[in-house]
């Protein structure tokens, strides 16, 4: 399978934080979610991949053969958007269009207008315009997304696109993802970060889990759902089951957690119920394990 990005041992040192080494893939033709708690290093990794910030070591290979993010051809093919304040706040939609049109070779002003209308942001060609600072956080994010989607790119890299959106807008974001991928079947890819995967479950194909600056698990969602099982049981059996589980939490009457599917047989001897986890349940289980290891 081709990769839109192949991340080979990227690191970045800060005074109080160390990212990496990160080894991960963003498969071509799919939507990849970067999942992790706040402070896990998701934004730093995305910033490095998009040339927003420098790296200490390692390499990223884009589209199979490109490694220099300063290359304009590569910049044009990537549609990046940060989680907040992507543009100066005193800008109007028109200024956004004026700037992005010059900043990239593949901006389509007509499409930008259509997207703004679809997102109910108004017409960027109109005289009287609101400044970004006057928009709600959700509408700001919509404006940022419109500016990115109005470009004909091959890879979207979006940092926390869903966190400021209301439920309806999140649903629309998922639709946009699938639309983007299907417009050029198999040639386009998406990488987005989130700390709340539940709303994006049905728009996620590949998941990369991060904790404390490191990638702790990754794979196609359908494969991960076969690799792991969700286990429920009575509290009295929790101590017996725990050694066979990845992570486990419980109360006075019951426990729940995830385990490797190969332990299903063993766990069933402790009178447990086993089912396929959702991506959300999987995320909680995997991230909980990372948190426990950290303590």
């Amino acid at each position: 399978m081709n990769n839109a990005i192949e991340i080979n041992g990227i690191t970045k040192k800060y005074k109080d934080f160390m990212l990496g080494e990160v080894h991960a893939s963003v498969p071509c033709g799919f939507a990849t979610a970067l999942i992790g708690a706040n402070g896990a290093g998701k934004t730093t990794l995305i910033d490095i991949l998009c040339g927003v910030t420098g790296k200490t070591s390692g390499e990223a290979v884009y589209f199979g053969n490109m490694t220099d993010i300063d290359n304009d051809n590569l910049r044009n093919r990537i549609g990046y958007c940060s989680s907040a304040n992507f543009f100066p706040l005193e800008w109007t939609l028109k200024k956004v269009a004026d700037s992005v049109e010059l900043g990239f070779d593949n901006f389509n002003r007509q499409r930008f207008s259509e997207l703004c209308k679809r997102f109910k942001l108004g017409d960027p060609a109109e005289k009287k315009q609101k400044k970004l600072v006057q928009l709600s956080d959700g509408n700001k994010m919509r404006a940022y997304l419109a500016s990115v989607l109005a470009r004909d790119t091959e890879l979207l890299v979006l940092d926390e696109p869903a966190s400021s959106l209301d439920p309806l807008a999140r649903d629309m974001l998922c639709d946009l993802f699938r639309e983007y991928l299907s417009e050029r079947d198999g040639e386009r890819s998406i990488l987005f970060s989130t700390h709340n995967i539940a709303d994006m479950e049905y728009a996620t194909d590949y998941a990369v889990f991060m904790a404390n600056g490191k990638v702790i698990e990754q794979g196609f969602v359908e494969d991960l759902k076969e690799k792991y099982i969700l286990v429920h049981g009575d509290a009295e059996n929790a101590d017996k089951a725990r050694p066979f589980m990845i992570s486990c939490s419980g109360g006075r009457t019951s426990f729940e957690g995830i385990a490797l599917a190969e332990n299903a047989g063993m766990l069933s001897t402790f009178d447990t119920a086993v089912e396929t986890p959702t991506l959300q349940q999987l995320s909680v289980g995997i991230l909980r394990k990372a948190e426990e290891d950290d303590q």
Binding site: G29, F30, A31, C174, D175, R178, E179, L181, S182, D185, G186, E201, Y202, A203, T204, D205, Y206, F220, V221, E222, K225, E275, T276
Partner: protein, 124 residues
């Protein structure tokens, strides 16, 4: 096609079941293309990888073939294979029936009677 997102049956299985049925009943004929993977994902509001897995399952059963870069096409189903497929379905449903019978403590004889009754009822 309809999908239950909150069912215990994995979504890819639901898709595979419905497409399999369309192929076996001849609704989808030999040489017909399946919807594009990402197009179907968009229509059903599910992930791309889920549709892909459904298609791969159908391909592994020999019902469809992936044509590089062009998507999936329905294979010509030979009579014997088709019968075998139907038999497999039949066995699966009967197994379910036996499972229910055993839970209810219903004996083989009673099951046979029920089957006969239903069979005749259906023919009327």
């Amino acid at each position: 096609m309809k999908i239950y997102q909150n069912s215990n049956e994995p979504i890819y299985k639901q898709i595979a079941v419905q497409l399999r049925e369309q192929i076996l009943t001849g609704k989808l004929k030999a040489g017909d293309p399946l919807p594009s993977i990402r197009g179907l994902a968009q229509d059903l509001k599910i992930s791309v990888i889920t549709t892909m897995k459904a298609y791969e399952e159908l391909a592994s059963e020999g019902l469809v073939t992936a044509s590089k870069g062009k998507g999936y096409y329905v294979n010509a189903q030979d009579e014997r294979m088709l019968k075998e497929q139907h038999m497999r379905q039949l066995e699966k449903h009967l197994s379910d029936a036996i499972y229910s019978a055993k839970i209810a403590g219903v004996g083989l004889e009673e099951v046979e009677q029920t089957l006969e009754m239903l069979w005749n009822f259906d023919e009327e």
